[in-house]
Amino acid sequence: MSTRIEKRFAVLKKEGRAALVTFTMAGDPDYETSLAIAKALPSAGADIIELGMPFTDPMADGPAIQAAGLRALKSGQRMTKTLAMVREFRKTDDETPIVLMGYYNPIYIYGNDRFLSDAKAAGVDGLIIVDLPPEEDEELCLPALKAGLNFIRLATPTTDDKRLPTVLTNTSGFVYYVSITGITGAAAPDTGKVMTAVARIKRHTKLPVAVGFGVKTAEHARAIAEGADGVVVGSALIDTLRQSLDKNGKPGPGAVNAVTKLVSVLAQGVRSARRVAAE
């Protein structure tokens, strides 16, 4: 019954290394390019793929991801196309876990039940919905778990020991530790502090803990991979993609390569980490 996410973390644990989790926006800058990027990510070194579901009002995201969402919407991305993209991806890759990440409204409007069954059928493995805290678990989290999807929750520096159990109760797949109080793409935090926080979360759960927000370089990815089970990189990939676009926001021939090149560098960082004995 285990999902691709659970299987992937089990394999990596045996290999003794952390996962590189990449975040890219579905439909950025257009459907074809974002699909080509997604297909190229695993061989470049991504272990888990997070695909953003674009939304007009991403209240926890910084300028890079906001702009990526708007580029995607402008090029005609919609929920149906994001799910189609996952189906396409699955035609050639049945192993790399795919997590859809975004905000609740587009799902709610698509219809929760319809979304869960279509997502499952498309080959989605987990969901991260930024504006659904545990207080709203009945909305989508519990039905998602029932549908066989992982519901991955964010834990943040404001999630103290008292609150952690609430956050972890219905979390599955992995825990996503947001390393800063702030929006995506903001300055990276002090690695020491992150390690302390990861250790704190691990005292409460056996689930893998991935760390994200602010990771940009191979060096930084390596440092985090020494203590965490996964390193999430998003804004850095999106920035790289944006820089490869021409004046009109159209992708040139180098768009996919620009992203995969950075992913391989980050993957080397993650793979060169000397893991502290993970218990």
Partner: protein, 406 residues
């Protein structure tokens, strides 16, 4: 279409912040502990007689409450029906109802030991009220305002700056109120430990819709007493404009359980409901989730939020407070709308007939008054919430009238 009506319309929200299916707490985890803290602090303050007494003192000597209930004689004659009263919220310090809520929230912020205040603003009235009370209580104040609104509400931008606030123009999205709120939420996520987010309307995650309503309910409570004094009984109908819905909720809430009283909320119809360029989320939207709550929202069929359009910056928001959404479904409040043209005409009519220049927001409520009043008998008592004064809108109205060649 009969709905089962509750025994009371005044008991909501439930402990999780729901008004029926509306409301809730749809926020990022980073904010959740803060919102829980805020809820606790608010519940304590609400039942603390000292807090209440201090607030009453400031309301009397600083805000200038009670605001008068004024019989609008010439407008009444003009309409030829109901007796029309104005609740004069435009006479409050800072020129709108917004200050009632801001006073409560800033006092709460101080009580919680917060040292930095952020706010979003559309027309700038909430921003001005927040800047004002931050000056009074010696707190740093940052106001997020859509770049478009910074342009069309210049006098208020200047006022905020003079009051010592920092106005940050927001360049993302449609660059109006919705985007200002996104940016304020992003600031809050980033500065959780010292910052208090002072929301300007009955929207956002629980407990904001209930808390802002409670602070604004002084409008309705005073109206009850004042109408008793003036006419020896309660009014027969109430009408207010709706942006997020705080001036309306403040007037309506104390009357919700007197079911014979007709209650009207007026949304902004911009260029007309059929034009697609409007801000009427009840008339043209459907339930969805944005800015921490479920409510009626303007959006496309993919769940992407659409931009609102109104000549009135204070109504230019694609949502509405969740309690209004519930009252709409329950059939307790009737929602109407007024176009830019109608609001400007009402703005002019009120100025000339009563010597009161209303805010363009309030002019939307005034726009629907003549036709309702005309249908009523002469002893029908109608209260219009005059939520703010129109000084800030003179340039917009002049430009609008000029462009129409009138």
């Amino acid at each position: 279409m009969t709905v089962q009506q509750p025994n009371s319309f005044r008991t909501g929200p439930d402990e999780r912040g729901h008004f029926g299916i509306y409301g809730g707490r749809f926020v990022a985890e980073t904010l959740m502990p803060l919102i829980l803290d805020l809820e606790k602090a608010y519940l304590q303050a609400k039942t603390d007689p000292k807090f209440q007494k201090e607030m009453d003192g400031h309301l009397a000597t600083y805000v200038g409450r009670p605001s008068p209930l004024y019989f609008a004689d010439r407008l009444t004659q003009h309409c030829g029906g109901a007796k029309i009263y104005f609740k004069r919220e435009e006479l409050n310090h800072t020129g709108a109802h917004k200050v009632n809520n801001v006073l409560g929230q800033i006092m709460l912020a101080l009580r919680m030991g917060k040292t930095r205040i952020i706010a979003e603003t559309g027309a700038g009235m909430h921003g001005v009220a927040t800047a004002t009370l931050c000056a009074k209580f010696g707190l740093p104040c940052i106001v997020y305002m859509g770049a478009v609104d910074v342009e069309r509400q210049k006098p208020n931008v200047l006022r905020m700056k003079i009051l010592g606030a920092e106005v940050r123009p927001v360049e993302s999205g449609a660059r109006t109120l919705k985007d200002a709120m996104n940016e304020a939420l992003r600031d809050w996520v980033t500065n959780v430990s010292d910052t208090f987010y002072c929301i300007g309307t009955v929207a956002g995650p629980h407990p904001y819709p209930a808390m802002v309503r409670d602070f604004q309910s002084i409008i309705g409570r005073e109206t009850r007493e004042q109408m008793q004094v003036a006419e020896g009984r309660l009014p027969d109908s109430l009408i207010a404009c709706i942006g997020g819905g705080s001036n309306a909720m403040g007037l309506f809430h104390p009357f919700l359980d007197e079911r014979a009283i007709e209650i009207y909320g007026v949304e902004a119809a911009g260029h007309g409901l059929k034009s697609g360029k409007h801000a009427a989320s009840i008339a043209g939207g459907k339930p969805g989730v944005l800015h921490g709550n479920r409510t009626y929202l303007l959006m496309d069929d993919d769940g992407q939020i659409e931009e609102a359009h109104s000549i009135s910056a204070g109504l230019d928001y694609p949502g509405i407070g969740p309690e209004h959404a519930w009252l709409k479904d329950m059939g307790r409040v009737k929602f109407l709308s007024a176009t830019d043209d109608e609001a400007v005409a009402a703005f002019q009519l009120c100025s000339k007939l009563e010597g009161i220049i209303p805010a363009l927001e309030a002019a939307h409520a005034l726009a629907r008054v003549p036709e309702i009043a005309a249908r009523k008998p002469k002893d029908h008592l109608m209260v219009v919430n005059l939520s703010g004064r129109g000084d800030k809108d003179l340039a917009s109205v002049e430009a609008f009238v000029g462009s129409k060649g009138r």
